[in-house]
Symmetry: C2
Subunit: 478 residues, 2 copies
C-alpha cells in the first residue's frame, strides 16, 4: 500500500526526447509576453487566418449550409416570402452555393454527423483522383490515373505522415531519410516511433537543389551504421526553406529511390504556394517508375489557409505488398484508419471543395477567383518585402525561389559563442516578432538560420522590418 | 538496380496483427451485400445519425453561423429589411443562437480556420471544467475542482486514448488492464504500441460488476509473467456490454488502482446514455484518493450523436511526475498534442456546446430539451424492444442495466462446433441485420455473444425482430 503519494511514472522515452520547435521555447516565450500585454507578431507557424487572412467565402458559405440543412429550405422559402421586396441581392445566397451544398448533402447520405467510411466518402476520393489527373495532365488509357481506393482522407496532413511512418518503421534500425532542414513533424514522428532519422542535405546556395552524390553519401553512411533505410521524405515547396524544387532534383530523387528500393513520401501541402514558379507533382514525375509514392495535400495552406479544420489527404501509388502476408500496403492502411473510425467530416468537405472549385461562369466563379488571386498576390508581395529587408541586414542570405509560406535566411555573422536561438529570442524580446531558429528544423553544422512565415499584414511588416534591420545590425556586431 | 518490380515491404508487425472487429469481416460483408442491393441495418457501430437520428438543431444552427460569420450580419440586416413582412417567425434564427455564435467567434479570435492552442482554446477548457464541477457537485475550496490546464480537446475520444497509451507503454513488458469484453480500440492500441493486454473479467450475471478478487487475480497472473501493469481501463457505461457500473464496483477499482500504483483510464463517453439509471463519474468517486485518472468524453454519443465531427476531451487528475525528468505528465501530453498542432475546431465547438446547453428560459431552451428528451426516450424504448425480443430466443440472456447504445446478449445454445461469428454472419445473410460477434470484443472462453447497437428506427426493429427470433430459434436447434 502506498501512502497517499502518486508514484512517478515511466513514460515512453522517445516521446520525452521528441522535440517540436514550431511550438517550442520561442513561441512559448512569445505567448508569455503576449499575456503580459506585449504586441506579438506570430510568424512561427503557417497559420494564415490567425494573422488576418480571410477564408474563401465560397467554402464557408457551403460549410454553413451543410451543417444546418434547414438553412437551405429556409433560403428557398425566404426567396418566395420576401421576393422582390429585397433589393439587396447580396442578402441572398448564390445559386451555385445552394446547389453545391445540396449535392454534398445528397452524397453524404447521413449528413455531417455520421462516421463515414474509414478512408473517407467515395465521392470525395473520386473527386480528388480527378483533381490529381487534371493537375498532372494525365488522360485515360495510359494507366497513370489516380485510384480513388488508394486515397485516404485525414485530419490534416500530419495524421497521414504518422500513419505511413508507423507502418514503415517496423524495427529499431529502420531509417527514414529526411532533408535538413525539415519540418519537425518528421523528426518528431520518427523519434516517437523509435526509428532512425537519416539526414540528407539539399544544397542551400543552389536554391536547395538535390544532388545524387549527396543522396548516395547519406544512405551509404546510414547503412554503414546498420540502418535499414526504407523511405525518403521530400517537402516541395519546402518547409522551412520555402524553396521550390527543380525538376532535375526530382528526377534524381526518383532514380535514387528506385535504385535503393525506397518509398518516396512527397509532402506537397504547399503546391498552390508557388507564386511566380510552377508546381510539378511527384506523381507526375514518377510516371511509370515502379517507386512507391505517398503524397500529401492539405486544406491548411495554399490560398485556403483552413488550418483549424484539419482536412487533408494521402494518395498512394505503386503500393508495395506487405512481406509475410497476403496483404497490400493499402489494406493495412485501411485497417489502421478504421481504428480511428474516420477523419472529421468538415475537413473532408473542405478537401472536396479544394479539389472542385466553382465552375467557370458559375455565380461564385468570379468572386472566388478574385479572393484567391488577392491572397496569393499578397503573400508573394509580403515575401518580397521581407526578402528585400534582408539585403539591409549584414550577412543575411536567403536562397531559392519563393514558395510555401516561409523564408529561411542564413545568418552568417553571429557574435562568437552565440547561436540562432539567442538571435531569435532577442529578436522576439526586442521587436515582438516571433520566428523559429534554424536548429528547430535542423541545419548543416556550423550554419545558423531562422524561419519566418510571411503572413503578417503588409502594414505590420512595414512597421516591424526597420526595427528588425536595426536589431540585426546591432546584434551581429556584438 | 531493381528491375521494374516493387519489392515487398516489411511493415510493423503489431499493426499487421492488430484487429478491429467493429469494422471487420461482418461489417465488410454487410457493405458488400448493400452494394448488391440488399437492405442492410447497420447495428455494428454506434453511429446514430447514420440510422436516422437527427442532430440537435441548436448545435447545428450555431455551427452554421460560426462557419460563415457573414450570416450573422445578414440575419440582422434581413430583420431590418423584411421586418414585419415576414409573418413566419420560424424563418428567423433565435436570438440566443445568434448570441452564442457571436460569443464563440469573439472567443475564438481568429475564427474557425486557424490552428488553436495545442490543448484547445482556453475558454472551452474552462467551460469543460465548470461542466465537470457542476456534474460532480464539486464546489470551491475543497481542492477537487477540475483544472482547465489539465484538459485536452481531441479529435473524438479515440485520439485521447491513443495519446495516453502511447506515453504509458514505455517498454514491451508494460501492461494495461482492460475489461473483457472491451471496445476494440483498446486492444488495437495496446497491440499497435507493443504493450501487453492484461484481461480482467467483469461478472456478467451480476450485471457486469467488478469484484476485487477478480482484479487481484488478473494482476497477479500478469505479474507472474513479468508484466509491469501501469493502468486499468474502465468503460462506464459499458461498451460493448451497455451495462452501468455500480458504485461498489467503482470503489473496488479505485482502491485496487491505489494499492497497485495504477492509473485509471475512465472511458465515460456514454455518460448521458443511462436512461433510467444515474451516471456517477470516476472523478467524483476518486475524490481525494491520489490515483492518476484519465477520463474521456465525446460529442459522438449521448443524445448528440455527432460522430462525424470528431470532438472529444481528455481530463487528467492527479497527473504523475515523469520519472527521470523534471516534467509532469501534463507537460509531455502538451508537447505530444503540439505535434498534431490542434484538434479540429468544429469538434472543439461541439464540445463547448455539449458542456454549455441553452440556459433555462432562453429562446432555444424548450426545443433543445424536447429534442434531447425525445432522442433519449426513443433509444431506451428501442433497447427495451430488442431486449424483449431476446426473451423469445432460446438461451439468449442479456445482463445489466441498459446503458450506452448497446446490448450484448449471451448466446447459450449454439450448434456444436460453431461460434458467434457464424451466428452473426448468418443473421446478416438471413435478415440484413449487421451486428458484431462477441469474439470481436473478447469474452470469457467458452461463452458466445453479440453486440447490437439499438439505433434503428422502431418500425425497422418491429419488422426485423420477428425474423431474428425465427432465425435464432432455427439456428440454435442446428
Amino acid at each position: 500500500m502506498s501512502h497517499g503519494l502518486i508514484r512517478d511514472v515511466v513514460v515512453n522515452a522517445n516521446i520525452i526526447e521528441m522535440e517540436y520547435a514550431v511550438r517550442g521555447a520561442i513561441p512559448q516565450r512569445a505567448a508569455e509576453l503576449k499575456k503580459q500585454g506585449r504586441n506579438i507578431i506570430f510568424c512561427n507557424i503557417g497559420n494564415p487566418q490567425a494573422l488576418g487572412q480571410r477564408p474563401i467565402s465560397y467554402y464557408r458559405q457551403i460549410l454553413s449550409l451543410v451543417e444546418d440543412p434547414g438553412q437551405i429550405s429556409r433560403e428557398h422559402q425566404l426567396r418566395k416570402v420576401v421576393g422582390a421586396s429585397i433589393r439587396d441581392a447580396a442578402l441572398m445566397l448564390k445559386e451555385d452555393v445552394l446547389q453545391q451544398a445540396e449535392y454534398i448533402l445528397h452524397k453524404m447520405e447521413s449528413g455531417m454527423g455520421a462516421y463515414t467510411e474509414s478512408r473517407g466518402p467515395a465521392f470525395i476520393r473520386e473527386a480528388i483522383a480527378r483533381f490529381i489527373d487534371e493537375r498532372d495532365q494525365v488522360s485515360g488509357g495510359d494507366g497513370l490515373r489516380a485510384n480513388p481506393d488508394h486515397i485516404f482522407l485525414t485530419n490534416g496532413a500530419s495524421d497521414a505522415v504518422k500513419s505511413v511512418l508507423e507502418m514503415l518503421i517496423a524495427a529499431p534500425q529502420d531509417g527514414i531519410m529526411i532533408p535538413i532542414p525539415q519540418y519537425p513533424l518528421y523528426s518528431a514522428a520518427i523519434k516517437k516511433l523509435g526509428g532512425v532519422q537519416v539526414n540528407y542535405y539539399p544544397d542551400e546556395e543552389s536554391g536547395w537543389s538535390l544532388e545524387r552524390a549527396m543522396l548516395d553519401e547519406s544512405i551509404r553512411a546510414a547503412r554503414e551504421q546498420g540502418v535499414n533505410v526504407k523511405a525518403i521524405v521530400v517537402i516541395n515547396p519546402g518547409n522551412p526553406t520555402g524553396a521550390i524544387l527543380d525538376e532535375g532534383s526530382m528526377r534524381e530523387v526518383i532514380a535514387f529511390a528506385h535504385e535503393n528500393n525506397l518509398a518516396i513520401m512527397a509532402d506537397e501541402v504547399y503546391q498552390e504556394n508557388v507564386y511566380d514558379g510552377r508546381f510539378v507533382s511527384f506523381a507526375k514525375m514518377v510516371g511509370r517508375a515502379p517507386v512507391p509514392l505517398f503524397s500529401l495535400h492539405s486544406v491548411s495552406k495554399g490560398f485556403y489557409g483552413e488550418c483549424g479544420h484539419r482536412g487533408g489527404y494521402l494518395e498512394v501509388r505503386n503500393a508495395p505488398r506487405v512481406q509475410g502476408t497476403d496483404a497490400n500496403f493499402i489494406d493495412i492502411l485501411v485497417k489502421q484508419a478504421s481504428v480511428s473510425l474516420c477523419s472529421n467530416t468538415v475537413g473532408q468537405i473542405l478537401v472536396y471543395l479544394m479539389v472542385t472549385p466553382p465552375a467557370p461562369g458559375s455565380a461564385s466563379a468570379a468572386s472566388f477567383a478574385r479572393e484567391k488571386q488577392q491572397i496569393l498576390e499578397e503573400l508573394y508581395k509580403k515575401a518580397e518585402i521581407i526578402k528585400e529587408a534582408f539585403t539591409h541586414m549584414e550577412g543575411m542570405h536567403c536562397f531559392g525561389r519563393i514558395g510555401a509560406l516561409y523564408l529561411f535566411p542564413r545568418i552568417d555573422h553571429l557574435p562568437a559563442g552565440t547561436s540562432d536561438f539567442e538571435y531569435c529570442m532577442q529578436l522576439l524580446e526586442t521587436t515582438g516578432l516571433c520566428t523559429v531558429n534554424g536548429r528547430g528544423f535542423g541545419q548543416k553544422p556550423g550554419t545558423h538560420h531562422l524561419r519566418i512565415a510571411f503572413l503578417p499584414p503588409a502594414e505590420m511588416l512595414q512597421e516591424v522590418l526597420p526595427q528588425w534591420i536595426d536589431f540585426h545590425n546591432r546584434h551581429v556586431r556584438g
